[in-house]
Amino acid sequence: MKSETFFVSSDSASVSVGADDLVRAITAEAARRGIEPRIVRTGSRGLYFLEPMFELETQEGRFGFQPEGTMAECVTEMFDIGVEARTCLGLMDDLPWLHKQERLTFERCGIVDPRSINDYRFHGGFLGLERALGMAPEDIVAAVTESGLRGRGGAGFPAGVKWSTVRGAPGDVKYVCCNADEGDSGTFADRMLMEGDPFLLIEGMIIAGLAVGAGKGFIYIRSEYPAAIQMMRQAIETARIAGWLGGDIRESGKAFDIEIREGAGAYVCGEETAMLESLEGKRGMVRAKPPLPALEGLFGRPTVVNNVLTLAAVPMIVARGAAFYRNYGMGHSRGTQPFQLAGCIRNGGLVEKAFGTTLRTLIEDFGGGTATGRPLKAVQVGGPLGGYIPEHLLDLPADYEALAEAGFMLGHGGLVVFDDRADMLEQARFAMEFCAIESCGKCTPCRLGAQRGVEVIDRVAAGVEPAKNLALLDDLCTLMKDGSLCALGGLTPMPVRTALYHFPGDFERAAAQGDIRWA
């Protein structure tokens, strides 16, 4: 065997289950055979259930290998008989799991070397920015508006409308803030993108800056993502040196620069106004709206606040046109959504599909059902503030409107699967407990309501006047929903109420038994 090229993910989740050990195994076996392999560290393809895995380049394409047993045995067999090895998964492009996806935002992730700006360009990077540099700012905003792109952070607000407001706002100093405080359980798409294709986010932010007239951008990344922080810092430096970022972008006379700010472990800073406070160096306390951040945002200036995936969709829209993007999706949910399959699921990972695919397709066809093989009980969609969806509603289409109509929300597109061992009273209690821990404390319904919510659920569990306490819980949920300043207090009732409504048995059983676990 001659010199060979291997691809191994350097994504932190891949490394968390042994991707670095795999690199060492390949290097050691190659050395034994007198070969010096070329090992490219890519981002992740999102096939986490197969990790750790590696890919071998051949004339037909890349073949995947998933070691079973020891890595050394697998690597030895691969060197001996190549793609005939037992552990060979076949051509990556032919794997149904990847083949059946519609990858737009994640088209490069897992394929390119995220550290290489040349690799990025070679795979279509910066085409959007090159076009944008020659466009009138209002035309960039128009393209984003026509594409139907909505904020991928959870609220689903039309990106074009936000950009148009910032563009029209008075003032010379404006900002673009990328919200990379992805704290929702069951979501990891932002992290995967920042670790696997960081130049795409940089390109999207520069285009946003050109469109609204902002000269500076901030990326607020949560501290729980050290690898993403490091990768983004490195990519910003590389882009600056290559002239794509800074005082004179590709000699266009236009300027834009980006600064990274690290979060400090507060979930509420994912809320846009709390994030702005945190960026200003203060406690991450929510601001009352209005004024909208688009008019008075960071340091009181007009500010675009978008999620990682929203900004990452922009280069493609500008490069290939609004219609190209718009043609994916259904109703008012246009384009694709990177869905994240997590929790008790056999095939956990990232699936990018056009809006409108059903939850069942995602969980059964892609996800392969529960990890334990036991019956599925509930799926929490949209993070810790999202509802618990029972099995019989899995045919709901995964889009903003259809889920909202059924009393749920899509959020950031995370799906957390629970098998039949889950106790929904316990999950409802956790939702209140999490809100109590993470509340910024500014408004009473959230700060005190969540604390009282835990106590009321504990009384139900203890069998203390369950009917009266459940009525009180419902009242409390209404108060938190209507009276909280932001989504943390306002949406915590969603997991609580959906648990109660769709799984009343778990509450009744606890109440009847007078379970005193927390009494």
């Binding site: 989740a13 359980s185 979501t187 690290e262 203060k282 990890a371 957390v416």
Partner: protein, 158 residues
């Protein structure tokens, strides 16, 4: 009672950090993070010089210090094990993993072992939800975590 010794040359080291961050807009949090990187925690004596340099009140700086889960006011143990308590990890048994580790170390979440060697902490999502349950041991992330894995990693660190 924990006795926190005042770090050597506190004033000089804080002064250097402050001068390195002169150009940062809204610097308070960034400065406190830098101080924690330098000392492993934010010493009480750091508050006054930070407040003075940034033209803030002592209460403002204290307010920021106490708001964020990451910022510490005392040195951490030699080893820190963080176990994700969020839903995706719960669905794969993080509650029982937490109980096992609690029993093994005889401490609860947020506590440090009697010998001061290991702290057990809660964390809410490490972005490893497809490979749950997730933990970090001394900052390194692990997926499909078990009690055995955590103990093995801690053993390797000794």
């Amino acid at each position: 009672m924990t006795i926190v010794k005042t770090p050597v040359d506190l004033a000089g080291r804080i002064g250097r950090i402050l001068s390195e961050h002169e150009a940062v807009e809204g610097a308070c949090l960034v400065v406190l993070q830098a101080i924690q990187r330098e000392f492993g925690y934010v010493p009480a004596g750091a508050l006054e010089p930070v407040a003075r340099a940034l033209n803030l009140s002592h209460a403002d700086v204290y307010g920021v210090l106490t708001f964020y889960h990451d910022l510490r006011r005392a040195p951490p143990a030699r080893h820190v094990v963080r176990v994700c308590q969020s839903e995706a990890c719960q669905a794969m048994g993080s509650r029982s993993l937490t109980e096992q580790l609690s029993r093994r170390f005889d401490i609860g979440l947020g506590e440090t072992t009697a010998d001061g060697a290991t702290t057990l902490e809660a964390v809410y999502c490490l972005g490893n939800c497809a490979l749950s349950p997730a933990v970090t041991v001394d900052g390194a992330l692990y997926g499909r975590a078990t009690e055995f894995l955590v103990l093995e990693r801690l053993g390797a660190a000794e």
